[in-house]
Amino acid sequence: MRDAGHEGYQEMSENMVRQLMDYSHFALASSQRIFLMKQVQDMVHESPSFPTLGAELVGLAYSANNPIIGAPDNLRPTQVDSVWQWVLPGRDRVALFTSRRIRSEVEKLIQQQALPPGATVTLLAPETDPFQVGAFASVALGDPFVDWWLELHLADESLFESTADRQVVIYLWTGALVIAALIAFAAIIAHYMRRQLQLNRLKSDLVSTVSHELKTPLASMRVLVDTLLDGHYQNGQMTQEYLQLIARENVRLSQLIDNFLTFSRLERGTQSFAFSQVDLTEVATTAFEVLRDKLEAAGFVVETAVASSPVLINGDRDALITVVLNLLDNAYKYSDEVKHIVLRVYQEDNAAYLEVEDRGIGMAQRETANIFERFYQMDQQLARQVEGCGLGLNIVKSIVEAHGGSIVVDSRPGAGSKFVVKCPLAATPSSKKLQRIAG
């Protein structure tokens, strides 16, 4: 086949080279074009160079790694100036990009291209830049980027003349850049998609966790009620026992719903606290009384070391009770063999302290950094260790911070955890006055 001397062969190969570099009239799939370019290079004696081959290869590699993205066929300008939309295929979601964003991404990509020294390329978005004087060549990006142009500037116009016929080379450079611009688009969209997918996963995790947590007590109640209705228990004592279990599940369900609602209100910033002077010792005792039965039934020993005189802070009594309930509940959930909880309230150095300490499973240092994050527990996915949805401690932290306080945890694996809430004491009469002036 290789016969460089043959005139007909020479003509055919030149024709082939011309066609392969003609992007506007000779439509080919990227993989076909690459194949043909390589074949021609292989067969022709003086191997022609295809300046776009590099860009084609990059484009092909990219689309192979991102099969769902491909070329942004669905990208269209919107009715709003300078805003573009990209409709995700088969989905009811639309990605929006501003022209500025698109431009900066494409420019970033252009800068990464190996341009010959002295050559610069600028991207012109519609209505953003006037055409610059002195561009060596400019090329339209074409559909869907109507009115977008790439401009090639040369410090020294003789740069290309020495190497080849100028028109062809310029054309090829800009052709390569059009491909590069499309790749940049695919990259933006891929990035956007990843974020969307992560967000969606988080949302569906929340929905399934919430529904699991709500369904568990509901399912138990249904089994017990069905059993009673089936008339298996004729004797009053067993019936009584079942009713008590049902009542307990009912309370658990209410607590869960309260927590979800509190979380949702905190999240939307609509939780309003009713601040008044509150005695933290009374808050702690009340919360403990609520959980006393549950804790004692599970075999817990709860030690209360609460100051004998009131520890007064400015706060919302109900919210603070939620704090103590959630901390006690946390200690309950994460205790294994040793069921021992210490609840402390005291004042020290002009601050009020509330501590809940357990001798449970504890956690490693790196975990203590994350436990106040919402849904933290969710990382464990199906290997669920305990009931709950990972909202409790996040709620505690939000409430404590709304009170101008802070919460820290001291924990070691296997040794237990100690949560310490620190809040400013209620203002004394003199500082209260100052506060009123400041407020």
Binding site: S208, T216, L218, H232, R248, A383
Partner: protein, 129 residues
């Protein structure tokens, strides 16, 4: 169902109590476990005739228990309890060797009916072979 042993693996004490009582009324010998590790141990050592298995369990989840039992060539019927009605969970459970499932909250009559049907179905299959 007299004489048949059932293992119930369920971490929620109230649910466990309800299930124990009901399978007891049916004449099953009931053994139970409150986490995945204990559940797997008891399944391997007692080789019950039927297992009712929650998916969300402490230590080892229900899917994993199911997989390990089948890997150990234990063929007793397994019914999964799932609080998630999601199709992929159910498909995953069945692929790992579960025989049936009910979605929480479920009717105890339905669970009992499914449980009673399973050993019979297995018996028919074995007789046919």
């Amino acid at each position: 169902m007299a004489g048949e042993t059932i293992l119930i693996v369920e971490d929620d004490p109230t649910m466990l109590r309800g299930l124990q009582d009901n399978f007891g009324f049916q004449g099953y010998d009931v053994i139970s476990a409150v986490d995945g590790e204990e559940g797997l141990d008891k399944a391997l050592s007692a080789e019950p005739d039927l297992i009712v298995l929650d998916i969300m369990l402490p230590k080892i989840n229900g899917f994993e228990i199911c997989r390990r039992l089948r890997a150990a060539e234990l063929t007793m019927p397994i019914i999964m309890l799932t609080a998630k009605g999601q199709e992929e969970d159910i498909v995953m459970g069945l692929n790992l060797g579960a025989d049936d499932y009910v979605t929480k909250p479920f009717s105890i009559q339905e669970l009992l009916a499914r449980a009673n049907a399973l050993p019979r179905r297995r018996g028919i299959e074995e007789a046919a072979v």
